[in-house]
Symmetry: D4
Subunit: 246 residues, 8 copies
C-alpha cells in the first residue's frame, strides 16, 4: 500500500520517490500529539526530509520528544525533523527580504531550502526606497542560482531584483503592512503584475512554498527518468506563418 | 550609453548581458510603426532574442516588412523576430493546458520558451474532471525538466500535475470561464492556494511570463559569474535551537 | 397556530410536515439557556429530528440537562437532540475531505446526514496533490448515492471526485488556508467554477447545509404528494427550431 | 484507448459509462467547424446524450449540417444533438424563474434536464415582491422531485421556495440586474447564505450545471454498482460523547 | 456661537433646530468620562433628545452617574439620556427582524425611534424560509406607517415585506452569518438589489440610522418652514416628448 | 385570479391595491413588442400609474403606438404610460444632483415621483467642492418634504444636504466617475457610511427606486387600513435597566 | 451672484479667487455644444486658466470654433482654452512615466501643470526592471521642485523615485496592464503602500489631478492671505509625556 | 559605507542628505530592545530627525532609557527622539479631523510635521454633516500653507475643505467606522474620487505619511541642488495641434 492510514491522516510513504522532496506537516489545526505521531510515522520510512511548518512551542516540545535531532526555528515556526546534507556542488539559493518585519517568512524559505539540500545566502532590509543598499549587493545577488524575494507593503522589490540577475526569481508577498495593504493583497498584486521578466509568485506569507520551489528548480534536469536523451516522440515545432496578410 | 532613446521608448541594449533573455515588446498601446521601429533598433544590436507580444495582424504586417525572417503566431499574437536555436542538450519544457479555450495562452508560453532556446512538448485538453486522460500521459510529464500548466475556471490542474512530477511547475491562470470566474480571479486564487509543493504562479493569461520563467529555470546555474566555486563569503547557517522549552 | 412564540424565537412546529427534516437551532448568538428552552419546545412536538449547530461546551451542558439523550460532537459543535434511525434501505452518503484540518466541517456534514436517517461513509485526507490516495478508493466512492466533498485551500477535490462517480456531488468550501485563501473565498470560487458536471456548492464551512441537502436528495421522489402519477397538467416540451438559418 | 485525440480536443468516449450523462461541448472560443467536428466524433460513439452550450447561430448552422436531428434553442444557445427519451417513471424537475430576464438561463436548465431524460415543469415570473403569485403555485411546486430556482438581483427566491417544498433545491444566480448587482455577485452571495435548509448553488448563469445536477439527483441510487446491498465495509458510526462536562 | 468646544469635541447646540432630532454620541473610541462630559453639555441645552450608541457597561455607569434618568439598553448598547414622549397621534414604526441573532440591531432601531417620539411595534423571528410565520402577521405589518426590516445572511426579508405593505420600508443588513456572508456584505447587496419598489437601505448593523430615518419620515411635511403653501417658485414640469421617432 | 399570465410575464393586477404605486416594466432584456403587450394589459386594469424604465427609442416607439398618451423622457429612458395628477396638497420632492453627468439618474427620480402624484423641485450641479453654490439654495432645500440626492464620484453630497434639512434624505449613488470609482462603488460606500442622521440609500443609478421611495414616504400614514386608531395590541415598550452595574 | 446658471451647469466665476487655479470642464458625458457653451461663459470672466479634460476630436472641433487660441492635445484629450504664462521663477514639475503606454496620462499631467504656469520636464520609459535607466537621470530628477510619477502594472516606480529626491512626489496609478492589474487597482494599492516617505496618490489615470496638485504645491506659501506673519492664534504645541511608565 | 548593518536592520546614515527628512523606525514587529538599538545607532549620526511610529508603552520605555530627551505621544504611539526646531519663517501645516475618533491619526500627522520643523495648527470635530462648524473656521483654514484632512466613514471632508482653500490638501482616510466602511476602504475610495482639484491621498491611518508629505511640500524649491537657475536642458514644451479636424 503506498500510504499508511493513521485515522486522522494518511501518510504517503512514496511521495519522495514519485514526486519530489520532503513530507511536510502543516501544524496549524493539529494537536501536538497528532503532529508527533505523523512525524514518527514519516521518520520510520526511508530517508526523505521531514518538515513541520507553522508550529508553536507546544508542537515543538512534542516533536522533540519523539525526534530529538529535530532543529527548531521559533521565529518561523519550522521544525526540521530530518534534512538533507548539501552536496558539494549544491546550488545556491539567495533569500532577500525588504524589511525586518519580513524575517519570519524569509526564514521559512531558507530553512526549507537548506532542508532540501541547497546552500543558502541572505540579504536583509534592502527595501526599494533606499536602492543603493540593494545595488551595493549586486554581485552577491548575481552569484545565486535562484533568488527568493520576500516583501510586504507595495511588494516592489522582486521587480527590481529581477532586473539585476539572470537567475529565476520567486516572489513571496507578506502580510506586513496596514490599511490598504489588505493583509498582503497589495504586495501580491504588485508581484503578479511585475514588469520584469523571469519571476513567479507564491501565496502570501508562503516562505515554505518558495523554498521548496527553489529546491525543485535546482534539481530540474537531474532527476528525470529519461536521462540525457529527451522525449522519444518529440512534437514537431509549430510552423509559424511568415507571410504578411496581403 | 547603455540605452538608445527613440523619443517614445528607451531601447536597452545591455539587458541581455546584464540579466537574461530577449528584448520583448508589448504591442498593445503601440502603433504598428512604433513597434516596427523598436524591433529594427533591437535587431541591430547583438544576437539576443527579440519578441513582440499581444500583436495584431497590423503589427505583424509592419514588423514582417522590416524583419522578414520573423515568425508570426496569430493565435497568441506572438512575433519571434529573432530566436535562439536549441542547443543539443537543451532542457525540455512541457506546456499542459486544461481546455481548448486555453490554447492561445499556452501557445504564448511555448513559443516564448522555444525562442529562448528550450525544447518544448505539449499536452492539450487534460482537465481534472477526466483525470484518466492526464494519468495516461504521466510518463510524458515526467520527462520534462520544467512543466508549465495553463488553466482557467477552477485552476485545479497545476495541483494535480505537481503531485505527479519532480520538476518545478509554473502555473498560468487564464481568463477562460464565466460568472464567478471573475476574469481569471478564481483560477488565480486556486493556483496560489495549491496544496501541492513545488509550484509558483504568474499573472492571469501571462503565457509569455511563464515561458520566460521556464527558460530562466533551465539556465539556472549555468550563466552565473562565480562559476563552480559558490559564494566567497558564505553565511553561517542558522543554528536552530534543539532544546524543548523546559 | 403553526408556531409557538417564545418571545425571543418563534418555534415552527409544522416545518417537518410542510417541508423537510429537522428543526435546527443555530447556537451562535444565543445563550445556553435560550438554546435549551428552544430545544425543550421542539422535543415536545412530534418526532422530527432536532439539531443544534455551532454549539460550545456551555451550550452542550445546558442542552444535555434538559435532553439527556442528546449526542454531543464537540469537534464540530453539533448536538443531536433527536435523530432518525436509518431505514433498512437508507441511501449512503459519503463524506470525503481533503485534509485533516477540514475534519470539523466534514463531521458537521455526516452527523447531520445521520440525524436525517441516512447511512454514511467517510474518506479523510485525500488531497489532489497525491491523487493515487484518492484513486485507490474509487470503488468506495462509486458505492455512494450522494457524495459530499469538503476542501479548503484551492478547493480542487470536488472536480476530481465528480469525474469518478455518477452520484450527485455537494461541494463544501472551508476556511482552511491562509494568505490568498481569503477565509475560504478561493475554495468557494474554485468549486463554483468547476469544469465537472453534476456538482453544486454550499456556503463556506457549511457542513450542516451539505448534510441536509444530501438527505433531501436521498428523499427526492419519495415524499411528494402526487405519488407515482406525476403532474396532472404537464407542460408541453419546448419545440426546438431545427432549421438552420438560411 | 479511452479517448480520441482531435488535435485541438480529446474526446472522452467512456465518460458516460464512468461517470454520468452527456458529453457537453462549450462552444464559446471554438469555431463552428471545430464544434461540428467534435459533435461528429461524439455521435459516432454509443448512445449517450450530446449537447452544445453557449452556441451562436453560426455554431448551430454548422452542427445542423452534420447532425440534422439536432434541436436548436436560440434563446439559451443550446444544441441537443442527441437526447434521452424520458422513461415512464422519470422524475420531474421544476424550473422556476424570478423574472422574464432570467428566461435564457432557465431554458438552459430545462433543456439540459430533458436531454438527460427527465420530465420538466416551469414557473415564470414569480419574484418575491409579489409572493402571492408564488404561493398560488405551491401544489405545483410540491409535485416536483427536484426544483431549480433561477434568479438575479437579490436572489431571494430560492430561500422562499425551499421553505415550501421537501425536494432538494438547486439555486442558479443570474447576472440580471445593474449597479450593486455586480454581474450576479449579489444573487450568488444571497443564495449561498440562504437561511433555508436543503439548497445548493451553481455558478452565475450556469443553467446547464443546474439541469445536469438535477438529472444526477434523480438518478441517485439507481446506477450505483453495488446494487441494493450498500457498502460492504460500513464504518462504525461516531460514538458521540453524551456526558456533560462536569 | 452655535457650538461649544470641549477640546476633544465640538458640541453643536443648534442641530436640533437647524436639522432634526437628537444629539447622538457614538461611544466607541471615547472614554466613559469623555462620554459623560459630552452628555452633560448636551443636557444643559434645550429639550432635544440625547442618545449614546454602542455604549459598554462602563460607559453606561459613567453616564448614569451624571444623568440618572437615562434609560440603559444593554443588548444594543443604547443610552437614552433624554427622549421625547410620543404624541397622541404619533406615527407607528414597526421593526421586523429575521432571526434571534438580529435582535441587538433591531433594538437599536426601535429604541431610537421611541426616543424621537414615535410609537413602535416589533416582529421577531420571521425569516423567509418559513413564510407563513410572516404572512400570519400581514395585518399587523399593514398597520405601520414605516417598516424597518432587519436581516442578516441573504437579506431577503425586506423584499418580501415591501410587497405586503404600502408603507416605506427601511432595510438594515446585519453582520449575522458566516462564510460568504462576508460580515454583512451579502445582506447589504441583497437589499440594494431588491426587486421590490419602496425600499431604501442603511449601513450594516446601523439600527440607529434606520430608527432615525423612520422618525424623519414620520415628521416629513410637518416641520418644514413654508407651511402648507409649497414652494413659491415651482419649476415647470418637464414637458416629455410624446412623439415616436418617425 | 389576482394576476394574468402572458406566457413570458405574469401581470399583477392587484399590486396597486395590495401594496403601493404603479406597475413598472423594466424594459432591458424585453423586446419592444413584449413591452407594449405588458403595457396594454396593465392599462386595461384600473387606474394605477404605469411606467416603463430603461427604455430605448425602439421601446418608446412600440409603446407610443399602443398608448399614445404616454410621456417619453429619452434622457432617462422613462415612459409614463399613465401617471397620477398631483393633489392640491401633494408633498414636495426635491431632487438635487451633484454634476451634469448625474442628470439621467436624477430625471428618472423626478419623473417617477411625479407619476406617483408628487410635486417636484430640482437643483443641478451643486457639488461639494463649491459649497457656496449649495448653501445659496438652503431655503429651497428646506421647503421640500423629501430630498433625493444624486451623486457619483465620492458621493459626499447627501451628507452635506442632510445636515441642512429636517426632511428625510434618499441618496442615489451613480456610476459617474472613473478609476477607483469602480462603477459607483465608491459613491455607494460613501453614502452608506454617511455621518449624517436621517439618510437611506438605494442601488447605484436607481433613480426610479428613489422616486418611488419618496412617494411612499409622502403617502406614509395616509393609506394604512387601521385609520387613526393605531395598533390594537400595542407592545409594551421595553423597560430599560436604569441601574448602573454595582 | 457668484455663479451663472446655464440650465445644465452652474458656472462658478469666483472659484479662481476663492480657491485656486483654472475652471476645468470634464467633457465625458457632455455634448460638444454644451462643452463649447461652458467654455465661452468661462472665458468671458477674468483671466484664470480654462481647461477641458477627456475631450474627443468632436469636442475639440466645437471648442476651437468658439475659442481659436485653444491648444489641443489629442493623445490625452486635453484642451487648454486659456493658460498662464510661466513666471521667470516658476517652479519645475518633472513628470516621469514607467512605460510608453502610460504616456496619455503623463501628458495630461504636464499639460495641466503648464496651463497653471509651471515649468515642466519629462522622463519616459524608466521602469523599475531596468533601474540603471532611471539612475542615469538622478541629477535631472533632483532638479525638480515637484515630481509626478505615472505608472501602471505593479506601480513600483514612485517608491524608487522618492528615495532619490528631496521633492514631494505625486504618484498616479494607470490602468495599463492586464489580468490581476484589475484596471489599475494593483498599481493604486502598490502606491498607497509605498515604503517611501514623502509621497501621495491620486485616482487611477488622473493625470489632471496630479498636475493640479503639483501646481498647488508650487504655489504653497505664496497666495495665503495672512502673509508672512502666520496664524494670529497659534495653538500651543502638544506637550509630550517624557516620563517612562514606572 | 553609506549604511550600518545591525544584523536585523541596515541603518542608512545618508538618507537625510540624499533624500529628505528623518529616519523613521516602524516599531510594530520589532522588540523594544531592537527598537532602542536602532534609535541609538541613528542618534549617533548627524542631526537629522529621528522618529519611531506605532510604538507601545514598552517601546517607549526602552527608547526613553537610551534617549531620555525623547518626546512620547501615547495617543498616536509616536516617539520623537530628535526633532528639528521650527525656523522663524517655517510654513504652517493645518491638520483638520472629522471626528474625535480620528484624533490618533491626526496627532501622528502633526507630531511628524513638527518634528520636521513645521509650525502646525489643528481643527478637531468638523464633520460635513454640520458644515457651519467648518465654515466658521474658513479664515483659519486659509492661513495654512498645507492642509492635512483626516476623516473616516464616508471621507467627504477633504473635498469640502479643498473648495475653501488655495493650499494643497493631503487627505488621510482612517479606519474609523463600521459595516460597509470596510476598515477604511469607503473613506479611501471617497477621497481618491474627490471632485475637488488640488488633493492627494495617503494610505489608511497613515498620519505619519501625511505629515512627512506636508513637510516635503513646504521644503519644495528650497533644497534642490541646482539653485535658482532651473534645469540646464529644459525640454521644449509640446506644441499642441491647434487646428480643428477638417
Amino acid at each position: 500500500m503506498p500510504f499508511e492510514d493513521l485515522g486522522f491522516a494518511r501518510v504517503d510513504h512514496h511521495r519522495a520517490l514519485r514526486s519530489f522532496g520532503p513530507e511536510v506537516v502543516y501544524a496549524r489545526g493539529k494537536t501536538p500529539d497528532e503532529t508527533a505521531s505523523i512525524v514518527t510515522a514519516l521518520l520510520g520510512d526511508g530517508g526523505a526530509p521531514v518538515l513541520v511548518t507553522r508550529a508553536t512551542q507546544a508542537h515543538a516540545d512534542a516533536v522533540l520528544e519523539v525526534a530529538p535531532a529535530t532543529g527548531w526555528h521559533p521565529r518561523s515556526g519550522m521544525l526540521v525533523c530530518r534534512g538533507l546534507d548539501p552536496a558539494e556542488d549544491a546550488g545556491l539559493v539567495l533569500v532577500a527580504c525588504a524589511g525586518t518585519s519580513d524575517l519570519p517568512v524569509a526564514e521559512e524559505a531558507w530553512v526549507t531550502a537548506e532542508a532540501f539540500g541547497c546552500r543558502t545566502d541572505r540579504l536583509v532590509d534592502v527595501g526599494v526606497a533606499g536602492v543603493h543598499r540593494l545595488l551595493a549587493d549586486t554581485e552577491r545577488l548575481q552569484r545565486a542560482d535562484v533568488v527568493v524575494v520576500v516583501a510586504g507593503m507595495e511588494g516592489a522589490l522582486p521587480s527590481l531584483v529581477t532586473g539585476l540577475v539572470a537567475a529565476p526569481v520567486i516572489a513571496v508577498p507578506t502580510s506586513v503592512g496596514y490599511g490598504a495593504a489588505f493583509e498582503g493583497l497589495a504586495a501580491l498584486l504588485g508581484m503578479l503584475n511585475s514588469c520584469a521578466v523571469g519571476i513567479a509568485v507564491v501565496n502570501i506569507d508562503n516562505g515554505f512554498g518558495a523554498g521548496a520551489m527553489a529546491a525543485r528548480i535546482l534539481a530540474a534536469g537531474r532527476h528525470k527518468p529519461n536521462g540525457p536523451d529527451g522525449p522519444d516522440e518529440p512534437d514537431e515545432p509549430d510552423e509559424p506563418d511568415r507571410k504578411a496578410s496581403g
